[in-house]
Each structure stands twice: as C-alpha cells, then as structure tokens.
C-alpha cells in the first residue's frame, strides 16, 4: 500500500513558558544540589590540605599540595583528650558495638513481629502500643534510671551495657517493621503449617524466616546507620573503654587545646561518615524503603 504524504508537521510548537519552566526546574535543583554537596566538598578538600594552606582562609579552593598526612593522623594519632591513638580505636569500638547490637535487635524484632502478627497473645497489642509510644519519647527520660540499674548489675560502662541499650531502643522500630511485613504475608501459609502440626519455632524457622529476606535487608540498613550514628547512648553507656567513633570524633574536634587541626578534623569527620555513606550508596532505594516502612504502617 502506498503511504500518502503526511498532512502536517508533527512537532509540538515551542512553548516559551514551558521552556523557561524547565530551565527553572533544573536551576533550582542544581542550586539546592550544590548546597547539599558543599559540606562534603569542603570536608574533602580541607582534609587534603596542610594547616598552612588552611590558614589562608580559602575553604573552597582545591588543595595546592595534595597530602594525606591529615588522614593518617586522624586514623592513627589524633588526640582525644590525653590519649593520642586516633580514630581507629573508636572505629574498632563502633564495630564491636554494631555487630552484636544489629544481630540481636533484628532477631528480637523478627520474633516479636512474628508473634504479634500470627499468634494470639492476650495483651500483646497493648504492650506493642506502649513500645511504639516509647520510641517517640526522648532518651533523657529513661537514661538516668537505666544508668542506676546497669550500675547495680555491673554492666554500666561495658560492651554488654551499650549493646543492651541499643537493643532496647531499637526494639520499637524493629518490631514495627517486622510486624507490618508479616501482616502482609498470607495467613494461609501459617494455617497450613499449623495443620501439619508445626509449632511456634518450627514455623518461624522453616517458613517465616526464609521469607524475611527483603525486610531483613531494610532492617540491617536502618540499624547499621542508626547505631553507627548514635552519639548520646554511646557517650553515656559505653564506658571509657568502648567509646564509639562518633563520640571520639567529637572529642577530637571539640576538646583539643591550642590551634585546631582542621585538616585532621575533616579527615576524621569523613572517616566517621564512611560506613553510613557506604551503606546509603550501596543500598539505594532500600534505604528509602526503610525510612518509609519504619514509619508508615505497611
């Protein structure tokens, strides 16, 4: 069949208002993006400068003499008060706190969520409501009595103490996360297993846990960032031996006497942010899912 010539030019006529609208959108997004990136940029360039260069007061300029001395110093020999052992101690402490806290709080959250959404336990919903409400209350309300109890039982200022604290304060969000996720699973799964005679733990381990991978990823992302970034709890409960990286960072930056070594401070700040930044960049959309599902009912 012959195709006849097209009767009209099929191009949308240019609309100047629309064009300017697009320009405006990109301009706005670009400017705000610069504002958001500015601190990261300043941190990075400063951390590669020498103190002499910093004293020139040009925070935006690229380092003229590129040096990683500040990084080495921040990692190995920056002083927190009297000790000069660098951030690596804090890094190690943070890891020691992070791993057991994340594992235990996620396991407990999964068990709680499972029991809440598949089993009938009288009063469980009231408990859960209290737990949720607790997550909105400032830590300052709980801290002092907890310190006293920990001191009595001898875990104040120990690794066990800080891990327990993270488990306690992570429980509301972890439980909510898993409860909402499990509520979305078909209950027939559970009923079929019960008819087959499987009990509480059997169902949990062989049916529910294998289906929990997506929400477990979200939970890991949330807990790793939250616990790594914690300052207050680490400061109060971890004890001198186990101070996490955030506390050490603040000590390095804010308690030194004499001239501040800004390049070291900035290197230390970047080092402290590396773990959550890596989690964030690698997890992508999961991170957003975590924020959303931790707060909105799923």
């Amino acid at each position: 069949m012959m195709r006849q010539a097209k009767p009209a030019v099929a191009r949308r006529p240019l609309n100047y208002q629309e064009v300017w609208g697009r320009v405006g959108i990109y301009a706005f997004l670009g400017v705000v993006a610069l504002f958001f990136l500015l601190p990261l940029y300043v941190m990075l360039v400063t951390s590669f400068k020498s103190m002499d260069e910093i004293r020139l007061g040009l925070i935006f300029s690229l380092p003229r003499q590129f040096t990683i001395d500040a990084w080495v110093k921040a990692w190995t020999s920056a002083c927190t008060g009297l000790e000069c052992t660098g951030l690596r101690v804090g890094f190690g402490n943070s890891v020691k706190i992070l791993v057991p806290s994340v594992v235990v709080s996620i396991l407990l959250g999964a068990v709680n969520g499972y029991a809440l959404s598949f089993w009938k336990v009288k009063g469980a919903n009231v408990l859960f409501a209290c737990l949720l409400l607790g997550s909105f209350i400032p830590y300052q309300v709980f801290i002092y009595p907890l310190v006293r109890v920990y001191a009595q039982t001898g875990i104040y200022g120990s690794l066990a103490g800080i891990v327990l604290t993270h488990v306690i304060f992570g429980m509301p969000v972890m439980t909510l996360l898993f409860r909402n996720y499990y509520s979305g699973l078909p209950i027939e799964l559970f009923k079929a297993a019960r008819i087959d005679g499987a009990g509480f733990w059997k169902i949990f381990v062989s049916i529910i846990l294998p289906m929990s991978a997506p929400i477990a990823i979200v939970a890991v992302i949330m807990q790793v960032t939250a616990i790594w970034n914690d300052f207050l709890l680490g400061l109060v409960f971890a004890g001198r031996e186990n101070l996490p990286m955030t506390v050490q960072l603040n000590n390095i930056v804010n308690t030194t006497t004499g001239e501040r070594a800004y390049n070291v401070n900035m290197a230390a700040t970047v080092l402290t942010s590396l773990v959550p930044l890596a989690v964030y960049l690698l997890s992508g959309r999961w991170f957003v899912r975590g924020i959303a599902s931790g707060a909105v009912k799923g």
Binding site: K120, Q140, V141, V149, L176
Partner: protein, 298 residues
C-alpha cells in the same frame, strides 16, 4: 472463662514465652524507668537519688531557671523554622524531581545523603563552614568583600539559625524521599483528568496531590518532630550550647544536669515536662497512624 483462658494460654504458650523479652523491655526499660524518672522529679535528689518527697518544688525551680526557659524558647524557634523549611524544601524538591528530569537518581542521592550521616557530623561540618575566621566569611573577605559578615556560629543572636541550617541540611532529604514516593504512587489518570479540566500544575499539587499525600506528610512531620525534640548531638558538636546559653536545648539541659551539675531532681523534672509534652502531641498521631484499621483482623 477461667478454664477457657488456661486452654488458650496452653495452646499459645510458646508465643507467650517468645514475647517475654519484649514484655520485659516495655515494663522495665520503658514504663519502669519512666515511672522512676517521674518519681525522682518529686524528690530533692542532687548527686544521688533520694526518696523524699518535695512536691512540685523541682518544677517551680525549673521554671525559675533562665537556662531552661531559654532552651524551651530555642527549641520552639528551631522546631518552627526547621519543620517549615524542611517541609517546603522537601516538597519542592520532590515535585521538581517528579517532572521527568534527567539525572533523577543523582539528584535523589545528593538530597538524601546527609540523612545517612550522624548529627555529630552535620554539626561539625557546618561549624567549620560557618567559622568566621576560616569559613565562608574569611573566603569572601579574601575575595575583597571586606565587609562580608557570616558569623552565625559565634553570634548569640544568629546561632540558632546556624543550628537550623545544619538540621535542615540533614533532614529535608527525608521529606523529599517520602513525598516523592507518594507522588509516584498517584494514579496517572488523575493527572490526565486534571489536564482535561484545565487545572494548572501548581494548583493540582496544592489542591489535589498534596492532600492525597496526607499520610506521607504526617509521617515525615512526625519523624522530623521526634528528631527535633531529641536534638542533642548536633548542638553539642556545633556550639555546645553557646555562645553563652544562646543555643541551649532541653535535651542538653537535662544531660548537663544529670551528669555534670549533679542535679538529678531538676533534670528529671525537666525530662518529665518533655515526656508530657511529647505524649500530648504524639498520642493522637500514633493512634490514628498505627492503630486504626491496622494489624491483622483476628
């Protein structure tokens, strides 16, 4: 009834046992400590807890303490501007990103990364950028603008805005991410209908889309409010409450009185005030968000 209940417990016994850790956490770590804190606020405790009863004395003292009143006022100012700016900026970013822009995922990553970092880091970076001797002010003066002033962190009248700047930088990505997720969930036919109706885009957002996103908006406002009430790290890292008491906040007031000024009675009174405020504000929100129609029907 009694026999029936026994049978019910027997059938679900393991579930009851599995929820014991949660029950213990709620009863001891949340409710118990809360009650203890409130009890202490009616005592004359100083360095050590006392079990006497002095009525509302601590509260009277508290509201006579200018530092406390300052922190309350500061918190109000910070909360107002922080919520307003975060919300407006977050919404604008989400809406602009939703206009089919190129590099969308890059923009999303840039706007949300600060949220992954700790408040300590946010505070330290902005302290450095706003530092009048070496930060933006020095740079601008170096360029020849000798009258340029940007001394927010050391200026008692402006220091709150420095804190707001750092927290906005940290938190507005959260609003962006949540609102954007909501925008993506809106049925394309709604948009088509508005185009047939000839409703301008800004009006569609204002009158139709944002009202539809109410749950997302509430969620993000709740999350932001919590972070404001708990605000401690960023202030400690950025200004340590200074200059003077110009950037004191309630959470820091309580911590100082608990651990440095050895005034437990006053600190617990302050924390009780915070507790009551939070409960009054949050209880209805929690109820409507999490308990209406939520969970699995029995």
């Amino acid at each position: 009834m009694g026999a029936e209940f026994t049978r019910h417990v027997k059938r679900n016994l393991v579930a009851y046992i599995a929820l014991l850790p949660m029950a213990a956490v709620v009863i001891f770590a949340y409710l118990g400590t809360m009650a203890w804190s409130v009890r202490l606020s009616f005592s004359s405790s100083k360095l050590l807890p006392r079990s006497d009863f002095v009525g509302l004395n601590q509260y009277v003292t508290l509201f006579d303490t200018s530092r406390w009143l300052t922190s309350l006022g500061n918190l109000a100012v910070i909360a107002f501007f922080f919520l307003l700016i975060c919300f407006v900026l977050g919404c604008l970013l989400a809406i602009f990103i939703d206009q089919n822009v190129r590099g969308e995922s890059l923009f999303r990553t840039v706007f949300l990364y600060p949220y992954a970092m700790s408040f300590v880091v946010a505070g330290l970076i902005w302290q450095w950028i706003l530092n009048p001797d070496l930060g933006i002010q020095a740079t601008m003066r170096g360029f020849g603008f000798s009258g340029f002033v940007l001394d927010w962190v050391v200026n008692p009248r402006m220091v709150l805005y420095a804190v707001i700047l750092a927290t906005v930088w940290h938190g507005s990505g959260l609003v962006m991410a949540l609102i954007l997720a909501g925008l993506r969930g809106i049925d394309g036919e709604i948009w088509r209908a508005t185009r047939i109706d000839g409703i301008p885009a800004w009006r569609v957002y204002l009158s139709i889309v944002l009202p539809m996103l109410r749950p997302m908006i509430i969620t993000s406002l709740v999350l932001l409010s919590i972070s404001i009430v708990k605000m401690y790290d960023v202030v400690v890292a950025m200004t340590n409450g200074g200059p003077g008491t110009a950037s004191e906040v309630p959470a820091k007031f309580i911590m100082d009185n608990l651990f440095e000024r050895a005034n437990i009675g006053l600190a617990t009174a302050a924390s009780t005030v915070m507790l009551i405020t939070v409960l009054m504000v949050m209880a209805p929100v929690i109820y409507s968000q999490y308990f209406r129609k939520s969970g699995r029907a029995a």
